[in-house]
Symmetry: C2
């Protein structure tokens, strides 16, 4: 028997959500090609986390694509003149990077087409999507339709799937899913302003969501925090 293994490009930031997505894709039997971006974000330690997660989960390949979105401006995550908010915010948050998921999915699509991959996995989540327009399921559905018209696959009739396994999960359910698959969350970084060693601030929105997730999940929180 000579079964061709299913292939997936997995968008991997090094954060908790995308690491869980990689573990899920691998568990579903996909040969995983992880794609990370160095997009001028402050949290470069995320990329080291992504590398560690790939090694731990057993991704077939990990590529880091340089993409300087900072030159378009407009986000606290790429523009060092805008402060990262520490409390709750309303509407589309200032940490939103213009068209970020659209751009990331498009780079994944290029690689997926070359690899003849069957799927692209992305860790978007509708439960605590925090007002980011490009985390909504209707966006993903529209992206998938567009992607199949954009590529050879639309011509040859082997459509891509955009897989969003976290879409309906709470943060606690995400953590429980990764925990069941043996994912080591100590390797992941969620903090918007982690230090060079990958230690988290414990105060930003992302840290608050993460800490509450472990608490709600009943899973011990392995996150390393910067000593106050």
């Amino acid at each position: 028997m000579n079964h061709k293994m299913k292939r997936a490009v997995v968008l991997l930031s090094g954060g908790l959500d995308s690491a869980t997505v990689l573990a899920i894709a691998a568990d579903q039997g996909f040969e995983c090609y992880a794609l990370s971006f160095d997009y001028g974000q402050r949290a470069l330690t995320e990329l080291n986390a992504a590398k560690a997660v790939c090694a731990s989960v057993g991704a077939k390949e990990h590529r880091v694509f340089s993409l300087d979105l900072a030159q378009f401006g407009g986000s606290a995550l790429t523009d060092s003149t805008i402060d990262v908010p520490e409390g709750e915010t309303e509407g589309v948050p200032i940490t939103y990077v213009p068209a970020r998921n659209t751009i990331f999915l498009s780079m994944a699509l290029a690689w997926a087409e070359v690899l003849h991959a069957d799927a692209i996995f992305i860790g978007v989540n509708a439960v605590d999507y925090s007002g980011y327009p490009d985390c909504r399921p209707e966006f993903i559905k529209a992206y998938e339709e567009m992607a199949n018209l954009a590529t050879r696959n639309g011509v040859t009739g082997e459509p891509f799937k955009i897989e969003i396994p976290l879409i309906d999960l709470t943060k606690a359910e995400i953590i429980q899913a990764g925990h069941r698959l043996g994912l080591d969350y100590a390797l992941t970084v969620s903090c918007y302003q982690s230090d060079d060693e990958g230690r988290a601030c414990g105060r930003c929105d992302s840290c608050r969501l993460r800490a509450k997730g472990f608490e709600d999940a009943g899973v011990p929180d392995p996150t390393r925090y910067i000593p106050v």
Copy 2:
């Protein structure tokens, strides 16, 4: 009266088609922000052409975004180990760059969102689209729908338009349109293997289409060719 000028991001390669699109957008009263890519393609002289066209047409700003698509491989335009074909080809041509227009539109979308632009102009063409799946009108329509779900605009209700003024024009009609608007086609480069001075080979598919376009349009061809 204090009319805010309409803004457009215009994808500009420095070739004949996109230069015509820029002239059309400017003629329609848009303040034009031209976006070019240095994507590891061989024809870097195209970028110099783009700069010259922007100056000539009067674009408000011109940005060149570095994007090394060559690392994904799979195209004669970015992979120096694949020869550019000189004759006719069947199906999806080898010069197709994976997901190229999807990626270009996504970068344009990011900039358009920051600029609060009203439109993105792209020079895709259904008449001689040569088998590129991402030049079909149904792709553009799907992209526009996706883009409006992807961004703040989808939330605030100020939708983007993806404008494709060349979609139904023959090469001759494109040239006539630009000629009427006073566009200097001597500034543009279409050749896949032009030399450092921007002179064309006269033999590749792109050169053939361009020369025939001028002939059919009854417009003098100002293209500079490499002496044989």
